[in-house]
Symmetry: C2
Subunit: 618 residues, 2 copies
């Protein structure tokens, strides 16, 4: 039982944090003080009674994790780190300034943020990933706390994460919902209907506790119950008021995302009992029972194919993933009930403890993977049909803002998958993964099994978001097992001094380019062929050099829609040159069911169509 003095100290801390949140948003003339104030007691009790955190090393692998899913309430988080002595008041007053990392929504530019938030409903998946790793991989005592808003519980991703967390019995995970009743533009769907929140979380397998979330004693009791609960995650459903403590504004509409009058701090100050209490409360030190790990260069046993063997790149991905699992116990495979199609099941079979089935919930799949990769505890490889990664586009977008270490392997790309039809055909995945911008983001599109294995190995050794585009059909191995592959490097797979056109393909279309080049040669038209392999970064130098060598005519061929695909990437790569013309063959209408080869023909990316394009070009 907490002493009355300690409880009062926590109340004082909450009010000091409130004041700081108001001051910083007044200084920045924007931000979310009311969404911060509803959570002041939650943060104060978490930081100064419940969690184990290291003031000097917030991302210590041993410490508890905290995810602020309602990222717009970051002023109260910054205030908590100020109260803990990690940030100064001057620092937090730089909120939202261009030269400050105290941003409008939290990002890992700050040393106490694991994942960027601000797109709502994503935090719980990341927290679940951390908790999964804590319980089953690190087997350590650190716990994971995720503070969510009530409005964001309308996001389906929250329920994907909830189902996952109870399925895997993540009793080291505590979700706290700050039910402050008001969204941005009106009352939330459930308002203060706490019983419905309780029923929903219970139905999704949580130990659900409804409390007054502005009451310090009730919060402390709820954390205790959470710690005592085994084999279930806990949801603390905290009834609060938006703008709590701000006179005239508390529980009122139209105060979302705007500063409140600075004078409002006076009444809050008056409620603080120990006026000199700042710094009195201390963080509890983490328990150091986390295994030390080293994630150096990971080397995989080399590919072992015979040239001409027919192997799908998705199968080679699975083989490589299993071999990476042999090489490093922190390689983690995750899949969305497609493991027998993406071949990630090869890792499951070889190393059952290094695989997490995430079922048909791709947003959570990606969120869990991002969480699992935090603090370098694992190297997560998430796989599903490439088309279904579009379901997690926002999570991948936020992964980029988080500077996440995430590998995505998407299979069944393009019309070449055949009879399953357009809903299953990824035709926009290159655009989606190419737009994620930070230096180390990479997109590989291997053509054969050797390059697919190498792409997977390269991916494991890149710290950043990597997408590997794998295909459904089994096609011949074209490279030697010892052929080297590198980021940003394409391959000239066919060339002669007589070349008059350059064909660029990857995956299934590379085979079509090679077939077309054969046929053209029979008609004495010589064509060079590039296997692009690395779609991002693209091998600009090689493309320009080869394009100039053949006289400036380039034909790109891709099993993808035009926007953001290989054609546009190549056009953009040569845009600074004169004398190079690019013709792009790609899928330009909604495809349909049919045999793979017939679809390549119908949608204009077959060898025949390449031959026609070259002839009309010359």
């Amino acid at each position: 039982m907490a002493t009355a003095e300690f409880v009062q100290d926590l109340k004082d801390a909450a009010n000091r944090m409130r004041i700081s949140a108001i001051e910083m948003t007044c200084a920045s003339k924007s931000g979310h003080p009311t969404s911060s104030c509803s959570a002041a007691e939650i943060l104060a009790t978490l930081f100064f009674s419940e969690m184990k955190l290291d003031k000097d090393f917030p991302k210590s692998p041993a410490s508890d994790r905290f995810v602020l899913s309602k990222g717009h309430a970051c002023p109260i988080l910054y205030a908590a780190w100020e109260e803990a002595g990690h940030l100064t008041h001057d620092q937090v007053l730089t909120l939202r300034k261009i030269d400050s990392d105290i941003e409008g929504h939290p990002t890992p530019r700050l040393d106490f943020i694991d994942v960027a938030t601000g797109s709502l409903g994503q935090g719980l998946s990341c927290a679940a990933g951390m908790a999964y790793v804590g319980k089953y991989i690190d087997k350590a005592s650190y716990r994971v706390y995720c503070l969510m808003g009530d409005g964001e519980s309308a996001e389906g991703s929250v329920w994907e994460a909830a189902a996952f967390s109870s399925y895997y019995k993540l009793d080291n995970l505590v979700a706290i919902v700050d039910v402050n009743r008001l969204g941005q533009s009106q009352q939330t769907m459930l308002g203060h209907d706490m019983e419905t929140y309780r029923k929903r979380f219970e139905a999704f397998g949580f130990n659900a506790i409804v409390i007054d979330g502005n009451d310090v004693n009730e919060l402390l009791m709820a954390y205790k119950k959470a710690r005592e609960t085994k084999d279930k995650p806990t949801a603390i459903l905290a009834k609060t008021f938006k703008g709590k403590g701000i006179e005239g504004i508390e529980d009122k509409d139209n105060w979302h995302g705007k500063p409140v009058p600075v004078e409002s701090i006076k009444a809050i100050e008056a409620r603080i009992v120990d006026k000199n209490g700042k710094g009195k409360l201390k963080l509890q030190k983490p328990v150091d029972n986390v295994p030390e790990i080293k994630l150096g260069e990971i080397k995989m046993a080399p590919p072992s194919y015979k040239k001409g063997d027919k192997v799908a790149t998705r199968a080679a991905y699975g083989t490589a993933l299993a071999k990476l699992g042999d090489a490093c116990p922190r390689i983690l495979g995750l899949d969305g009930d497609t493991k027998n199609s993406t071949f990630s099941e090869k890792l499951l079979k070889a190393h059952p403890n290094q695989f997490v089935e995430c079922f048909i919930a791709e947003q959570n799949l990606v969120g869990v993977a991002i969480g699992a990769g935090c603090r370098s505890r694992t190297i997560p490889f998430a796989s599903t049909f490439a088309a279904f990664f579009t379901r997690a586009t926002d999570q991948i977008r936020m992964g980029a803002v988080s500077f996440a270490n995430l590998k995505c392997a998407g299979s069944h790309v393009g019309v070449s998958i055949g009879e399953d039809g357009p809903s299953q055909m990824a035709l926009e995945d290159l655009a989606i993964f190419r737009y994620n911008f930070f230096a180390s983001s990479v997109v590989f599109y291997p053509t054969d099994a050797v390059s697919a294995e190498r792409a997977t190995e390269l991916a494991a050794n890149i710290n950043g978001i990597v997408f590997i585009r794998t295909g459904r059909p089994a096609n011949p191995v074209i490279y030697d097992n010892n052929e080297p592959f590198a980021i940003g490097k394409g391959k000239v797979v066919r060339s002669s001094p007589a070349d008059k056109v350059l064909l660029i393909g990857a995956g299934v279309t590379l085979y079509e380019c090679l077939k077309a080049a054969e046929r053209l040669e029979a008609e004495k038209i010589h064509a060079a062929v590039i296997d692009l392999f690395s779609i991002k970064p693209i091998d600009k130098e090689l493309i320009i050099e080869q394009a100039k060598r053949v006289g400036g005519k380039v034909v790109t061929v891709e099993d993808h829609y035009p926007a953001g695909g290989i054609g546009e990437a190549v056009c953009s790569a040569v845009a600074g040159e004169t004398g190079i013309r690019v013709k792009s063959l790609c899928v330009t209408s909604v495809p349909r069911s049919g045999p793979s080869d017939a679809l390549l023909e119908m949608f204009g990316i077959s060898a025949n169509k390449i031959v026609d394009a070259v002839k009309s070009f010359l």
Copy 2:
């Protein structure tokens, strides 16, 4: 109470449909017979006892709606339409052939499909959109039935749709979950734990009924209870077995998505009592109480601004939407709790019955909008921050496969939003909306209030997916109120015979281009400026003509990442020409919080940076 004979006829129909589903997947050598067979009784009872459908006009506005959310089970749906006499057996045997519309997953190429399915978890949102329109806009008696799989209930979008459906008391909506226990690669999370399904749907506000889903009597009883339930949607949780009726395969692992031995039909045939019963059961005619509507050309009262007035394009969007609402009672606004930021609230205020608040659940927002637009019952305009449309990328992708009539207005684009930081900045939305390929898909990026209003009016009159990219900052009106705008047409907003470079911008960057051109002119460097306006289709002719006129040097400037944005679109538009070089200014790293202007400068898309780029180019 159904007669014993009728019940037997329904059982016979179910078995005939089973056989047909097996035969068609044997003929196509691929497909999902086991996922079909679990649902045979559900489909037979729906079609021949419960639903009101018109055999000769399946998409009659008066008829009940059926959404097959578990799209891979389409063989059983095709078999139902065969049993009803709408398809012949020869037709269904063309399953998955390249010249047949009987595709591997259903698409609206078929006259009885409203929305394409096959990406799981999306059907219920579309069904909810139809039910919302039925109850509140058509005020008609048609009902909406959505058949889901159990595996797909892991998708969060299902729970977004569930929350929405109960919030709006959609008692004309029945969700049926075919709980056949097995996913693609293993048992689902809940297996046959029917009580947990019941708790979840009850917690989300449904009248939940657990039954034996292969029992015709229990199904009939459940539909009756659903019809009697007021102010709540119903969920029928049907315990079934995958491959039901197929000896040796029923309830067995490893039979997902593959044909079963054709010999298995013998035992099913033997169970049919009335061997000549095909065609005996008839569909019940729809009740014709749906209002007739005409959606002809919608004309909006013209814009009324003064040149130089500072108006954000998002505000102009709201103004135009409200005026479109004046002109047409079937304009429907939908928003995700951002209506006071996207300004869709102007429609809510003017026409409360033409607006649906969808709360913070963007997947469902888009799904409901797609459903609401089906059978031309409404023209849906969905709005949220453009960044948050990325949450619904898969729904938009499927919208394209559905040939949906959907308008998306995304506000708060790019770094120009300022202090809220990267999580709120749309920098990939052009790529996402550009890749959706069918002839009428359009992307508008208006610069000022006049063009924003016209873009909204144009969108209302296009049958297809239209994206309108609106901005946060208030910028000067530059066009006359009577300036005409058109699909695929840009505007030369500055030109002189002395031009030596062409600047291309849209939105905030157009103002930067104009400022840069002013400054360059002071240094005697003349620059032409194009307002792109229509990003897709792009005004290729105008760009090439102007680029050639100025001597081939083009600078594109966009508040967007490079992949799939304006720069790549322009590069691609001029790729067939020699002598044109394009320099692309865009955002190439993860942005941060700060003032709008400072961010344009820091991320390289300000007037200063344009001036520098031009000088280094010439």
